[in-house]
């Protein structure tokens, strides 16, 4: 793998640097981020942000709050947790909005965001928040769930941070670890998001002269089941798949503890799109968004709205610029598939 493809992965600062290029030894310090330091200096009273969490405080909220602190912007936070039940959003809003009068509402995850802002095609008189800007974090597919008609603009008082890593970036990382001609993938055929990912995989693989073996999960009615998933894994290996890719598929995530061991015993390396799979599901390697950074990205959008007074409709919904590569070394040892050493420059290794 050359340096350029590393850079294209969006995580290659390390490799480029180790190579020690001559020019630019006196690089000018670039201005620090969108929010100039001390942007809050001219601000009168602190901004008020209502934070609606889904399962208590996570790294996302930590990153969100730290961003304001690092840029010295005074903010008063009011945090309310829905305890994994989005139906609690309505009463929380009814209680918090009149007294707290937030300048902005932060929402974690798709259910909370939809409960606050509703779908973009809801009738104008539907009981959703319209006049307060909403910034979401950790929504995987805002277009598919109708939070926004396109990533470029929600067309309304909403913007936010997406946490999925683009499929082609994941494919390139997978290829960098170990080049392949055939990749297997297991998915839930009823999840539009997963189907879209399969199409993106096929487009990418066509470009590098490789093929995708897509294996849908068994359906009972219109719900997927985990039936025979171990056989699917073994079949993929038998058909010559060199990797098993596990997309950010909601149902698949519930059966990681069956897929991972099956792949391991079949000797099939796995590449996962979520951190959880790597830590708990015996996955080999994955490229993931750090929750902390996703929180920071959401906060940077909040700062644009509050400090720079940019309307949310003019702020695109984005994912991170750089992602974390995580390698589970125990699995690598068991499979005998070791990462190329250049990857150790920027990978986080679980041992």
């Amino acid at each position: 793998m050359d340096r350029r493809s590393l850079l294209a992965l969006g995580l290659g600062a390390g490799a480029a640097g180790l190579a020690g290029r001559l020019p630019g030894a006196h690089g000018q310090p670039a201005p620090a981020g969108p929010a100039a330091p001390g942007a809050g200096a001219a601000q009168g009273r602190p901004f008020r942000i209502l934070m609606l969490t889904f399962r208590g405080d996570t790294d996302v909220e930590r990153g969100f709050r730290d961003y304001f602190a690092a840029n010295e912007i005074k903010v008063e936070f009011l945090t309310r947790d829905v305890e994994r039940d989005a139906s609690r959003v309505k009463p929380i809003l009814a209680e918090a909005l009149p007294g707290f009068k937030p300048d902005l509402i932060y929402t974690y995850g798709t259910p909370n965001t939809l409960a606050v802002a509703g779908p973009y095609d809801a009738p104008p008189d539907a009981p959703f928040v319209h006049d307060i800007p909403v910034v979401f974090a950790l929504v995987a597919a805002p277009v598919q769930v109708k939070i926004a008609p396109s990533l470029a603009s929600s067309g309304r008082n909403v913007t936010g941070a997406v946490h999925v890593v683009p499929t082609d970036v994941q494919m390139r990382a997978m290829q960098s670890y170990k080049a392949f001609r055939k990749v297997g993938v297991i998915y839930s055929p009823n999840e539009r998001n997963s189907v879209a990912i399969i199409e993106e995989m096929q487009a990418f693989c066509a470009g590098i002269d490789a093929s995708v073996i897509a294996q849908p999960l068994t359906m009972v009615g219109n719900r997927p089941t985990g039936e025979g998933v171990e056989d699917f894994v073994r079949n993929l290996k038998a058909q010559g798949a060199e990797w098993l890719y596990l997309p950010a598929d909601t149902f698949l995530a519930t059966i990681f503890d069956r897929v991972g061991p099956a792949a391991l015993s079949a000797g099939l390396p796995t590449f996962g799109a979520t951190e959880f799979f790597l830590r708990e599901g015996l996955g080999l390697v994955g490229l993931v968004s750090r929750y902390y950074s996703v929180g920071q990205l959401a906060a940077s959008k909040a700062v644009e709205i509050l400090v720079q007074r940019v309307p949310p409709r003019n702020i695109p919904i984005e994912t991170l610029r750089r992602f974390a590569l995580i390698i589970n070394m125990n699995i690598a040892k068991q499979l005998g598939v070791y990462p190329p050493i250049a990857m150790l420059n920027y990978a986080e290794v679980i041992t």
């Binding site: 390390g14 640097g17 180790l18 020690g20 981020g33 969108p34 750089r322 920027y346």
Partner: protein
């Protein structure tokens, strides 16, 4: 005349020497810059390594000020290269958060005037959140500069003197040639061939004209115009 000539030659010798000195000095500066960029490429490698670690930690949500383990890393990296004086991690405003040199904590790295080389530390949003700053021993540059200076002095001094002397010699030669030519020109017999031919033609025409030509043999229609003042264009005609 002699004084003018000598003064002129001296001025030319000075110009030649000055230009050689100028060329030598600028060559020296060019070499110095090349030398520095090779050295800094080397230290840049160490700075990159620290920046990488800081970036990975930042993406795990460990804010720069909280990355306490960086001190030992900076220390280790700085010790590998004896020429590195200190290695700092500064936040985006340039305040030193960690350093291999404990005395530098809290300083604004830009304010110490020391020349250092920097590598940015970026977060996952691709924003610059800090810098790794390597300050290296100016002695290593100074030593190179001194060596280069000595080398070039050995070359430049003779070149300078030689150029000056050669200018004086050639100047004197040119002056002598000019003087000799002028002396020779005092005697029409020693004039250059073209001048001698012109003189001979003048002599013969004058002789004949003084005797008088037989009438009725006009040689050209322009005769009546003869004797007019020289036309301005003629006297200014270029060689």
């Amino acid at each position: 005349m002699a004084r003018t000539t000598l003064g002129l030659i001296a001025v030319f010798a000075l110009i030649a020497a000055a230009c050689v000195a100028f060329g030598a000095y600028f060559s020296y500066v060019t070499l110095l810059n090349a030398h520095r960029s090779v050295i800094e490429a080397r230290f840049g490698i160490a700075a990159e390594r620290v920046a990488d670690v800081a970036e990975q930690a930042a993406s795990l949500g460990i804010a720069l000020p909280a990355q306490g383990t960086l001190t030992s890393l900076l220390d280790r990296e700085a010790r590998v290269e004896p020429a590195i004086r200190s290695m700092d991690l500064a936040d985006e405003r340039g305040i030193v958060l960690f350093s291999s040199d404990p005395a530098r904590l809290g300083l604004a790295e830009a304010q110490d005037g020391g020349r250092g080389l920097t590598r940015p530390v970026r977060n996952d949003l691709n924003e610059v959140i800090g810098h790794v700053v390597v300050r290296y021993d100016p002695q290593i540059l100074a030593a190179g500069a001194a060596a280069l200076g000595d080398d070039l002095k050995v070359i430049a001094l003779p070149a300078l003197i030689g150029a000056g002397a050669a200018t004086i010699v050639i100047g004197l030669l040119l002056a002598a040639l000019l003087r000799r030519a002028a002396r020779r020109a005092a005697d029409p017999g020693a004039w250059p061939p073209a001048a001698r031919a012109a003189l001979a033609a003048a002599e013969s025409v004058h002789r004949e004209a003084a005797r008088g030509f037989p009438p009725g043999k006009p040689t050209s229609g322009r005769a009546s115009a003869a004797g007019a003042a020289p036309r301005p264009g003629e006297s200014r005609r270029r060689a």
